[in-house]
Symmetry: C2
Amino acid sequence: MTKPTMLNNVDIEKVAALTQKIQNEPKTADTKWSAEVEWKGGFRCDTRIREFSPTASDEPDALGGTDAGPNPAEQLLAALGNCLAVGYAANATAAGIKLNGMKIKIDGDLDLHTFMGLREGHAGFNNIVAQVDLKTDASPEQLKALHEKVRSTSPIGHTLQNAVRVTVKPV
Amino acid sequence: MTKPTMLNNVDIEKVAALTQKIQNEPKTADTKWSAEVEWKGGFRCDTRIREFSPTASDEPDALGGTDAGPNPAEQLLAALGNCLAVGYAANATAAGIKLNGMKIKIDGDLDLHTFMGLREGHAGFNNIVAQVDLKTDASPEQLKALHEKVRSTSPIGHTLQNAVRVTVKPV
């Protein structure tokens, strides 16, 4: 019997090859990512990422925008949800757990006082909750280990849960 | 002479009305945001935000994905760039500064060792840099104050620069 090369539509051999490559050449793990934003007037922007079509960002009418797209707060929650989904897919596959479906809902609370210039202090999210709905026949023990593994290795989760150096500078 | 109601395509009266509303009813500033992610197999997801069309998230081929859309790391950088752009537009307008254009490039470094299970520790971005290219006739003093104002009030900037409580739980 040959080992399966695909589970959960994850290419096990490709992921194993990447892991091996990082072990052989640790610098391979130093990845760099970019996005470019072009302001279109008001609170409306177009985002460009690599060769993908530009996507619209805006604020809702209640916040003074024209509601042409999700706002940055929603985009950040989506980034976390998509990262967690990759984490569950990758780690479930590594553990031999078949996933029959996954939905993640991410909610966050943000107090606008600082952004609106009405007080000093933290302008960002106060609290973010991701509710993960997995369809799987895995045992409770397997699932507990999977949740713990994803929590402890999520790039976007860790970016939010820790203070990251952010430099904003004029060109 | 009447006061202008629009500058930089920002509706000054609408923003002033929101500020007034928050001053009168502080709870108005407590905003809640959400995103929903549906896993499509592999590292591919669809994100739903309010009534907007679903957007694709994926990982590049080199990371085991099918490259159907920007990955979560890129999405997070875009969220920061879009938030900063709103901050510049809002605060320039409040200061009476006309913007003739704005582009923001956001770059970030992320070490994959933790995500790949090859070591424990921080899995997130190590360093994020936003380069802000403003086209404006504002004075250097006005620009310095504008940059400082945006840095000190950016919701996504502060979310990244501070540790935020993130709860990941099964439903």
